[in-house]
Structure formats: structure tokens, C-alpha cells
């Protein structure tokens, strides 16, 4: 029993990390229809900027705030300098742009920071909490709590606020959105800022657990992308559930079957889910317009 509980805790910790990355994908995707492969770099920037600001003597909360703000600015710059000018380009070109941006940001971080692995102290100390013979780190609770808070926030944003609906409207039909008076340019800027900020916040929360370095972004983006697709791209609920599910699948496979093939099990489940639900678990059904 305690063994199962430990596997679940492990899965929840990892799953919450994936969920945080996956949630970052949803806003940009909802606004522009683009999967931003540089999302992992936002997570990396969040962690790395906090590390270096903290090392230079700033208190941790302030360092984290700076990291989130700077990363949001990077997100806005990405939109203004690379995504907006390429509007109307085929989706596959937009993918290459975001991959190029990801390589660019990584290259810049390697120059600005360094190639070492870094971390900063957990928010509430390193002593684990014991539950029925299993243990979980307090930082894991921060990550899980952060993922829940962002998920609820996003869900409210998209369903209850005018701005959130404007984002969805822009994604559905940019021209029509403009016609009904939505400032689509502002919506795009806002989406990139929010996505980047969520990514950075994720980076701040997970770094005490996963550690960080200039090149952690790609692996995170890959898992976050898979989680978002499993849940259904664009839906915050899908990103949240998809992330947790992916983490749990990996931990349970590692625990009961084989740690070597835990990632394989996760991807096989994704393939199976997509086979029966081609839009993911909570994806919107779409039909081709002819």
C-alpha cells in the first residue's frame, strides 16, 4: 500500500511539472493556432533567471518575480519580432520559427548564463511529509498547487472573462473577431506574455526539484507537448489532466513494470488514446471546411 502511494506521489510530482508546461501551450495555441515549441525555453528562463538573480543577492520572491517579468517580455518580443511578421505563413513554417526561437534562446542563455547545472533552495525546506509510509516533498506540493491555481485561473479566464473569450474568438476566426471590435493584435501580445509568464512561473516552482541548466527546455517542451496533446490541445482541463496522467503513467510503469520502458508505456497510451479519440481526451471536435 505504501509502495503504491509512493508511486502515486512520484507520478503526481512529475505530472504536475508536465501539467505546468502543458498549460503554457494552451494560451498561445488558443490565440494563434500555433504550438509554440519554444515553450520549454520559457520554463528554462524562469528557472535560470531566478537562479542568477538569487545568487546576486536578491531575495528569492523578488528574483522569481523578475524572472517571470523578463520571460513575459521575451514572450512578447517573440510574438512581435517573429510570429506577427510571419502571419499567414503555413503552419509548418510557424513550427520551424518557434523551433528556431527555441534554439536561439538556448544559444543566448548559454552565453548570458553558463553551462552548469543550478538550483535554489526549496520554498519550505527539504523535510519530506510522511503519509501512510510514503513521502512527498513540500516543494512537490508547491508545484501541484501551482498547477491547480494556474489551471483554475485559465479556466476562469477563458470561460468567464471577456478578454478570454476574445482570445478564443481570435483563434476561431481572426477577421470576424476584428470585425466585432476585438483588438487582435493586443490579444496576441497578451497571449504570448501570459504563456511565457506561466512557463516562467513553472520554471520557478520546479527548479528545486528538477534542477535547471540552459538546455532543460527541449525535454520539458517535448513532455509538455505530449501531455497537452493527450488531453486535447487548447483546453486547460486537457493540459492539466494530460500532464498528471502522463506523470502517473510513467511512475506506475517504473514501479510495477520496467523503469527502462516507462517513457515507452506513456507514448503507447498516448497512441492508443489518439486512436480512439483523435482530438485527445478533452479536445474540441473540429470539422474541415471545404
Amino acid at each position: 500500500m505504501s509502495e503504491l502511494l509512493q508511486f502515486v506521489f512520484s507520478g503526481m510530482t512529475v505530472g504536475a511539472v508536465y501539467a505546468l508546461v502543458a498549460l503554457g501551450f494552451t494560451i498561445i495555441f488558443n490565440a494563434s493556432g500555433v504550438v509554440n515549441f519554444a515553450q520549454g525555453e520559457f520554463v528554462m528562463l524562469g528557472g535560470m533567471i531566478t537562479v542568477f538573480a538569487h545568487a546576486s543577492g536578491l531575495p528569492l520572491p523578488l528574483a522569481a518575480l523578475i524572472a517571470v517579468a523578463v520571460t513575459a517580455a521575451v514572450g512578447v518580443a517573440l510574438n512581435r519580432l517573429a510570429i506577427e511578421p510571419a502571419r499567414g505563413a503555413p503552419v509548418v513554417s510557424l513550427i520551424i520559427i518557434t523551433i528556431g526561437a527555441s534554439i536561439f534562446i538556448r544559444g543566448a542563455s548559454q552565453l548570458v548564463f553558463d553551462k552548469q547545472i543550478h538550483s535554489f533552495p526549496a520554498f519550505s525546506g527539504d523535510d519530506p511529509i510522511h503519509v501512510l509510509g510514503a513521502t512527498i516533498l513540500t516543494q512537490s506540493l508547491w508545484v501541484i498547487g501551482g498547477a491547480i491555481a494556474i489551471f483554475v485561473g485559465l479556466w476562469l479566464f477563458f470561460t468567464k472573462t471577456l478578454l478570454g473569450r476574445a482570445v478564443l474568438a481570435t483563434s476561431n476566426n481572426r477577421l470576424a473577431a476584428q470585425l466585432v471590435g476585438i483588438n487582435t493584435k493586443f490579444v496576441m501580445t497578451l497571449s504570448f506574455a501570459l504563456s511565457a509568464a506561466i512557463g516562467a512561473l513553472g520554471g520557478v516552482l520546479v527548479t528545486p526539484i528538477t534542477l535547471t541548466s540552459y538546455d532543460v527546455g527541449l525535454a520539458l517542451a517535448l513532455k509538455g507537448f505530449a501531455a497537452a496533446m493527450l488531453g486535447g490541445m487548447g483546453n486547460p482541463k486537457g493540459a492539466f489532466v494530460g500532464g498528471l496522467l502522463l506523470g502517473l503513467l510513467e511512475a506506475l510503469t517504473a514501479g510495477y513494470l520496467s523503469s527502462q520502458y516507462k517513457d515507452a508505456a506513456a507514448f503507447i497510451i498516448i497512441l492508443a488514446v489518439l486512436f480512439f479519440m483523435p482530438q485527445g481526451l478533452f479536445g474540441r471536435k473540429s470539422t474541415d471546411r471545404v
Binding site: V35, A82, P85, A86, G88, A89, P90, V91, V92, S93, L94, I95, I96, I97, I99, G100, A101, S102, I103, F104, I105, R106, G107, A108, Q110, L111, L218, L222, F225, A226, M229, M233, Q260, Y261, D263, A264, F267, I268, I270, L271, L274, F275, P278, Q279, G280, D288, V290
Partner: protein, 318 residues
């Protein structure tokens, strides 16, 4: 008109391959040339899948891995001659593409992307983990093709670099020829029809699922042969060849050059093969510049180098 364009393209490519070696200052350029041709071959397969049929794959390196490891394993374990191992790898890739393609090609856009990504990762994972067979992440030696020795006996003495330049150059020409022929064949027309609109293609009687599957299988065979050539040339292979980064590299090369045209994609392969070699002078700035080039090309030439430039040239003529 179309036929002549096709042969002009091939003739130009052949001339380029044949003439440039006379300007090579050292043997190292043959190595870069043959890498370019191998990448060009893999990318030609992407043109068929993405350019003709409009399907995205983020897992094609998995097929390159199968082709590569076929050349490493088949000669040692089953006594298959290396040249035949290339065919064996291509056959395995083709069959696997058929089996995998049937379910996943029902998916669209990013969902197809993540499904193919999953496939590629599974292949890479098997190559990494099945140490007893593949020797794991550190890689495995690949037997010599034996053809260079044979040529030597016949009096044709080529260095290793020159030999592989010729072999991969010929393979690229054959690959390009097949792809260009496919473009003007009924299958090619069906593919392009469904690229425009799958629903419309279906209503005019095209078996959409079957045609997509054909494109997927053919492009998998291209990737497999490219992987085999790389393994044989390097006489060594690691699971990196099947990795996600290699898959992305293939798509990037094709899109950068122009995924709708064979010469465009080959040019893209050329740019991304040469760029890292040129950028070594920028030392730590290499990654930065590489990312910047990718973004700039896509922003200003969104259809890729060749189609966008051609369009501009034509626009100026008119």
C-alpha cells in the same frame, strides 16, 4: 513543359555533383558533400510526405534508425551482406510504416505530429535499451560495405571520402528522379489533390487513406536508406540517428528550402549541412546564429528558399 523542367532539374543536380569536386581544397569537403547528399535523400522523402501529401511527421528519424541499425546488425547476426542489409532495412521500414501509418494517418496536424513523435521515440528507446543487441547509447560498429575494395581490385582507387561522395551522390540522384517522376504520376496528382483538400479529393473518388499511406511508406523508405548510407559511411552508428532532434532536423531542412519542391528541399539540406561547418568560426555564437537564420528565412520566405525566390523572380518578369 513539366517534363523538361524535371530533366533540367536532374541534369543541373548531376552537373553540380560532378563538377564541384574539382574545386575541393581537401578531402574533408568530400565528407561534407556526402553528408549533404544523405540528408538530401532523407529530405526528399519528407517532400513526398509533407510537400506532396500535406502530412506532418516528427518521427521519421525512427526509420533512419531502422535503416542504420539494419546495416550494423544484419551482417553480424544473420550474415546478410551489407548492401543487402540496406534493402532489408528499407523493407522493414516500409512494412512498419504501413502498420503504423494505418492508424495514425487518420489523425490531423499536431495530433499526427505527436503520434509520429511517439513512434520515433519508441524506436530510439529500443535502440538505447536493448543493449544485448544494439550495444546501447554508445553505439555500434557497422561492417564495411566492401565495394571500395572491389573497385580497387578493378583499378579504380578512390579515397574513402571520394568513394562515399560518389555513392551518396548517385543515390541522391536516383531518389530525386523517383520523387520527380512521382510528382507527375497519377499517384502524385492524387497526393497533391488531397493536400489541397482531403474532403474534396475524397468526393472526386480518390482513396484518401490509401494514398496517404503510400506517401508515408515511400518517405519512410527514403529515410531508411539515408540512415543506412550514413551508417555504412561512418562505419559506426549511435541511437542519436533515430532521435527526436534528427526528426526535427529533417523537417527543418525540407521546410527551410521549400517543402513543396525536391530541389528546394535538397537546397535546405545543403544549407543546414553546411551552416554548422561554417559557423564554427563563431564559436559560442553558433547556436544563436543557427536559430536566427531559421527564423529569418521563415519570416521573409515563408514557403522556403526555392519556391519563395522563384515566385519573386517570376513576379519581377511579369
Amino acid at each position: 513543359m513539366r517534363i523538361s523542367t524535371k530533366y533540367w532539374t536532374l541534369l543541373f543536380l548531376a552537373a553540380l555533383i560532378a563538377v564541384t569536386p574539382f574545386f575541393f581544397p581537401s578531402g574533408y569537403y568530400f565528407r561534407v558533400g556526402s553528408l549533404l547528399f544523405v540528408n538530401g535523400l532523407a529530405v526528399t522523402g519528407i517532400v513526398i510526405l509533407t510537400g506532396y501529401a500535406g502530412q506532418i511527421s516528427l518521427g521519421h528519424a525512427g526509420f533512419a534508425g531502422i535503416g542504420g541499425y539494419a546495416c550494423a546488425l544484419a551482417p553480424v547476426h544473420w550474415g546478410v551482406p551489407p548492401a543487402l542489409a540496406v534493402v532489408l532495412g528499407a523493407a522493414v521500414s516500409g512494412v512498419l510504416a504501413y502498420l503504423v501509418g494505418r492508424p495514425i494517418l487518420r489523425l490531423k496536424g499536431y495530433y499526427l505530429g505527436v503520434a509520429s513523435l511517439g513512434f520515433g521515440i519508441l524506436v530510439a528507446m529500443v535502440l538505447n535499451n536493448e543493449r544485448a543487441l544494439t550495444r546501447g547509447p554508445d553505439g555500434i560498429e557497422v561492417p564495411d560495405l566492401g565495394l571500395r575494395g572491389l573497385l580497387k581490385d578493378w583499378g579504380l582507387n578512390l579515397t574513402n571520402g571520394e568513394f562515399w561522395y560518389v555513392v551518396t551522390g548517385i543515390c541522391l540522384l536516383i531518389g530525386a528522379w523517383i520523387a520527380l517522376n512521382l510528382h507527375s504520376s497519377p499517384t502524385g496528382r492524387a497526393l497533391r489533390a488531397l493536400h489541397g483538400s482531403e474532403v474534396a479529393a475524397g468526393t472526386v473518388g480518390i482513396d484518401v487513406a490509401r494514398v496517404k499511406l503510400q506517401a508515408f511508406v515511400i518517405s519512410a523508405i527514403y529515410a531508411s536508406v539515408a540512415g543506412s548510407l550514413l551508417a555504412l559511411q561512418n562505419k559506426f552508428i549511435t541511437p542519436d540517428v533515430a532521435g527526436f532532434l534528427h526528426s526535427v532536423e529533417m523537417v527543418t531542412m525540407a521546410v527551410l528550402g521549400g517543402v513543396s519542391s525536391v530541389p528546394g528541399a535538397i537546397l535546405g539540406a545543403g544549407v543546414l549541412t553546411l551552416l554548422p561547418q561554417v559557423l564554427t568560426v563563431f564559436a559560442e555564437y553558433e547556436q544563436l546564429i543557427l536559430g536566427l537564420v531559421m527564423m529569418l528565412v521563415m519570416i521573409f520566405l515563408p514557403e522556403g528558399l526555392v519556391p519563395s525566390i522563384l515566385r519573386r523572380l517570376r513576379g519581377r518578369d511579369e
